[in-house]
Each structure stands twice: as structure tokens, then as C-alpha cells.
Subunit: 203 residues, 2 copies
DNA sequence: TTCTAAATTAATCATTTGATTAAAAAATTT
DNA sequence: AAATTTTTTAATCAAATGATTAATTTAGAA
């Protein structure tokens, strides 16, 4: 009885959330109208305020989810003392590329969110260890004491994420990239760790 | 006489353009109001339409400029048959990193522009040779026939550009990156070509 | 079954936004 | 110097936007 009502309520709320995820990812915050979300959800416009109070609150909810899914994948891997550096690089490349192949709009959304709401982002990561205190950074330093671990971390992120953010541009510069993008990304799951190892040898 | 008038007219027009560059780069198109630009320019709001007809036209002008400056740097280098692969990598790293240090908002602006207006972007690059026909791609292929030249091109762009787009996030994950960002980027001018050479050896 | 609470609807609101207008001021031309 | 053109101004407009409202419907509790 009570359960049935709960499901119905979640269902409308969930429909709006679902639509909000889709439209905010596509258009960003400012270019998204509450009417767009209502239409995408097939729901009445007033329900956005009824369930979520404001466009802004709804956006923050979506933003929090997306930032969590983006960084939630990374931080535990970086901090795990039990896995080797090679395991970490392999796991990060594999998981990030897979996730981004399924969510190609995520990088740009996250980049915009970090730029527009750095405080909220910082608050989200409040508990996380800093990079330089992670097992990953230690392992990088051991492997190559001549290059700052931050540099190699930046490289790892760059090689996994940037192709997705730059895809529209890449497709224009090279139609071949457009035609085979997914195959290129699959290949990179194997190549990124190899490239990382090669770079780790550079002084 | 006629010259003096010309300078005055350019001066008001240029003030508005200048302000538009600043505000559009900072807020993007949708979140920028024409009033923001007018205020930033210290000009009357109606002048935006008087000189540029619409917010959209003004934005396109700024977008064209920014895309030109972003890609204008790259394409000639890629297409130059006279310079070696090492020269190219060195020049791209040096020039891109320098330019982006002076224009840190550019990457995100360009990424958003490419995503939101891919047709305009494609029209802009109309005359340019495709990547696979460039001297750069040929040279990559000669150096390493086992890896698609597109992959190495993507890496080159990733290593030079992504750190700037990701800077707000990097600064939260690692305060050390925030404190020494410019030094890290200067260092990368030398390291990126080295990393590229190391990656070129990977099969 | 009746009453109450929650969810939904369509209309409306108050504010904001890009754009227009008409008048005045400034610059240029005759 | 007068006439004409261009630039600037402040007010206004028409449409759009996030949010609110009141009525109705649906669901749940007694």
C-alpha cells in the first residue's frame, strides 16, 4: 500500500530527473529551459518546482551525480596501495574509456561544471586524499623520480578523456577519426597504458 | 577628416567587440546577456544591435576569431613538408602551450563551440587539407607504421590542451598543481615532444 | 465510504531578455 | 553656417523564462 504510492511518486520524480540529465548534458545549464525538461519528461511544467523547488536545485542534483560518477571511478584506484602502478594505469584507461564511450557528453559537462562551480566541486571531494598523498603518486615517483608525479597524472587523464571532449573537432579535421572513433577508443584501452609506460622512462 | 571618423567608429565598435570577447569567453553564449557586454564595454545597450545587429552575430564574430586563432596555429605546421617531425612536435608544443598560458579560457570555449556549432566549424576549415593528407601524418606513419597517425595526433593535442581545460579540477585534486601550474606548463613545452618521441616507439 | 493528503494541471505572474524606437547629440558634408 | 548623416541615448516593447497559484484529480488513511 504505502509501497505502491512510493513507487508512483518516485516514478514521476524519476522521469523528471531522467529528462533533466538528458537535457542538461546536451545543452548545459543556461541554455536549458525548464520547459525543455518538462517536455522531455512528458510532464507538466509546474512539477519541476513541485518536486525539485527550482531549476538550479535540479541542476545541482544532476551535476553532483555526474561529478561523482566521473571522479568516483578514479580516486579509489589512485589510493589503493595493493595494486601495482601498471595495474592502476591499465584499470584507469580501461574503465574511463569504457565509461566515456557510454557517456560521450560527460567530459564537456564535467569540464564546464568544474569551471562554473569550483566551490561545489571542491566541497564534493572534501574527504578525498590529495593526489600527492596517493599510492599512485608514490608509485610514479618511484618509477621516475625526475618528473613530477602531477605531470604523469595529467598525462594519464589527458590521454583518456580529451579525445571525447574534442571529438566534434577531430571529426572535422579528420573524417577518418569520425568514421572509426569507437574503434580508435577501444584500441586506446590497450595503448594508453603502453604509452604511459614509455613516458615513464623519459627524463 | 574621413580618417578621423573612421577611427572613432572603430573605436566604439572595437570597445564592444573587446567586451564581447571577454564576457563570451567567461560565460559562454547562453549565460551572457547583452547587458553584460554593454556594461563591460561602458556603452549603451542599444549599440550592440546598432553595430552588430544581434547577440548571435556578435557571438559568431568572436567565435570565428577564437577558432581561427586556435586552429590557425596548428594547420600550417602540420602541412609544412619542409620541417621534420621532431620540429613539428616541438613547435606545436611550444606554441600551443604559450598561447594557452596567455588565453587559459580558450580550450573550453573552443570545445563548447565545436560541440554547439559543428557546421560553422566545418565551414571554417573548408579549405584545409585533411589530417591524413598532411606532412605530419606521413611523418608519423614513417616513424611508426604500426599505430594509426590519428592516435598520435590525438595524443599530441591531448597533452598540450587538456591540462588547461581541466585546470579547475586539477587544482582541487591536487593543490600542488594549482600552486605551480604555470611552471608545470613551461616544463611541458620541453617534455611533451620527449613524451611524443617515447610514444612513437610503442608498438 | 468519507476524509485527507499528495500529485497533477492549466493559467497566470513577475521578472528578465534581446531587440526596437524616437529623440537628441555629434560628426560630417555641402 | 546649414543641411545631412551617423552615433548615442533612454525609454519602451514583445516575447521568453522560472516560478507561483488555485483548482482538480488521484491516492492513501481512517
Amino acid at each position: 500500500m504505502a509501497k505502491k504510492k512510493q513507487q508512483d511518486a518516485l516514478s514521476s520524480e524519476e522521469k523528471i530527473k531522467e529528462a533533466a540529465r538528458k537535457v542538461f548534458m546536451e545543452k548545459g545549464y543556461a541554455a536549458t529551459r525548464t520547459r525543455d525538461i518538462a517536455e522531455a519528461a512528458g510532464m507538466n511544467l509546474a512539477l519541476l518546482n513541485y518536486y525539485f523547488r527550482s531549476k538550479e536545485k535540479l541542476f545541482e542534483l544532476v551535476m553532483q551525480e555526474k561529478l561523482s560518477s566521473f571522479f568516483g571511478l578514479m580516486l579509489p584506484i589512485l589510493q589503493d596501495p595493493a595494486s601495482s602502478l601498471d595495474d592502476k594505469m591499465h584499470t584507469i584507461a580501461d574503465r574511463y574509456i569504457s565509461m566515456l564511450m557510454a557517456n560521450p557528453d560527460l567530459p564537456l559537462f564535467v569540464l564546464n561544471a568544474m569551471r562554473n562551480a569550483p566551490k561545489k566541486f571542491a566541497a564534493m571531494l572534501k574527504g578525498a586524499d590529495h593526489l600527492l598523498q596517493s599510492a599512485f603518486a608514490q608509485q610514479l615517483k618511484e618509477r621516475n623520480p625526475d618528473v613530477a608525479p602531477e605531470q604523469l597524472f595529467i598525462n594519464m587523464m589527458s590521454l583518456c578523456i580529451f579525445p571525447f571532449a574534442m571529438r566534434p573537432g577531430l571529426e572535422v579535421i579528420s573524417p577518418e577519426i569520425g568514421a572509426t572513433f569507437n574503434a580508435l577508443m577501444e584500441e586506446r584501452k590497450k595503448l594508453v597504458p603502453k604509452w604511459m609506460r614509455a613516458m615513464l622512462k623519459v627524463k
